[in-house]
Amino acid sequence: MSGPIIEVRGVTKAFGGVVANREVSLTVERGSITGLIGPNGSGKTTLFSSIVGQHPIDSGSIRFDGREISRLGVQGIARLGLQRTFQQTRVFAKMDCVQNMLVSLPQAESGFFDMFKPYPPDLIAKAEHLLEFVGLYTKRRLAAGSLSFGQQKLLEFAMALMNEPKVLLLDEPTAGINPTLINGLIDRLKRANRDYGITLFVIEHNMRVVMNLAQHIYCMAVGKVLCSGTPEEVKNDPRVIDAYLGAAA
């Protein structure tokens, strides 16, 4: 298996009259942590949504693990091993944390009659172990809706891990999290990448986080890819600074 795990080529997506993504091309290397930065409205979330199949793209190609996925829907792409977390964090509010985890089991191999089986103890143990990994073990029996925003983010992250993805797209994972907890989250992201072998593709606004975390960064502005490179290169690129400070891109 070689080649980038995600390959986006010439993807264009417009909503009504607004072109959110214009001829976007980028690659995400297998096993890497890749960052995606850019000012608000640059089309980052739209790109994520395109990749996971939430909406069809107007033109271009998206390949996942060598396979064209731009025609597939969310369910199919999820089952191929591509997960994403949402900016506004979506969890199942009325169920407790453990139940949220159990529902997140990978579904690719599940047969029709699997739904009639109970959850075996080893799966429950795995769920609890992952909850502990994100620091939610003591809250595991609370309804997800009663958790704080930051805790829900962690839960959503744990649920994504439970799904055993090959790639995890994270949309602003540290937004809204208490700054003292951010280091813990960075650490967990790195561990997920290193220990579980999950490729991470991360949208971030927090420069400290993304420079610390990512090995390769893309910067977008007004729907296009502006530049890419290592954190050092991107940080010092004048175009990136201009984009954030509002000069014409």
């Binding site: 369910q75 199942f92 169920m95 579904q107 699997d114 003591t138």
Partner: protein, 360 residues
Amino acid sequence: MKLASRTAALHAAILVVGLAAPFVFPAHSVQFAVFWIMVLFALTWDAMGGQMGYNSLGNIAFFGIGMYICAITQIGLVYDVGEYTAANGAVAIHFTDAQYFGGLALGTALAAVGATIMAAILSWVLAGIRGPYFAIGTLGVAIAAAELTAAWPWVGGGQGISMPVFPGGPGMRERFFYFACLAAAVACYLFFRWLYGTRFKLAVNAIRDDEDKAEALGLHTRRYKAVAWSSAAFFLGIAGALFGNMTGFVEPLETAYPTLTFGIFMIAMTLLGGKGTLWGPIIGATVFYVMRELTWTYLLGWQYIALGVLIIVTVVYFQQGILGWVKSRRPEWFGVKVEERGGPDSGKPRPAPAPKAVSA
């Protein structure tokens, strides 16, 4: 341990009452049978609406389909259906005991299967339709079924079908169908009790809470929707088959497809008792049934208005239902943990606490 023995005692008590009722109050056997049908109605509606969030206004369609399939089977085995319905009661079929019960058994089985297949097909046809559109669409299906049946002469059209006569003396018939309805309700309860203990429950609850997120996790949502609806339809078909025989007469608009009465009662009962729980529908059915009997006795003429008002009041003011209300007052009874003020509760001791933050 205590909870388990309490539950067992409760189940046993209900079973005893259920078995004894037609002997203690023989004149009310049919009414009691209707009660068990109402319990079945509530349980099946909750599977779709309460557990999965797909609020169907037309589940009664499966009740009607089951009724007609059973009637056609019973008559068709022995006589020509078209001729029978055309004669409009002038022809009296004679069934031997074996023929009657055989026909009834086969008819009920086919009713269950037929309703299930119809549900699976509908679930495919209406795939992707959610929320209020789903509700109105299903209402449309039920109304369409009623109207089309009423326009179909082969099944008796608007006149209906008069059912074969039960072999056996007076009182026997009522008791037989009472126990049949009781058995159906019990089977329904046991089935859903088992089903909600499997992965199915969490999956459909996830669909209810956030279907898009459930899809994003890769859940085969279509499968769950089909299974939920088919399970409900299965038992509704059986209920229809039994009800048609019990009433002795099958007619499309009031008996088989009563969208504006039973069709909506099943929703009201579930909401009243507390949707999304196993016992909520049962409690709701009981309370609703009692209210219905009371209004029929004391408010005759006004009973439907009273029930309509009950529906409005429940929906507007009492959405959590009885069980929901109890849960909010006494969450401990339901094993729900309430977050304590101060430190997190300790739970069982666990190795390796969460890793301390290491700054970059």
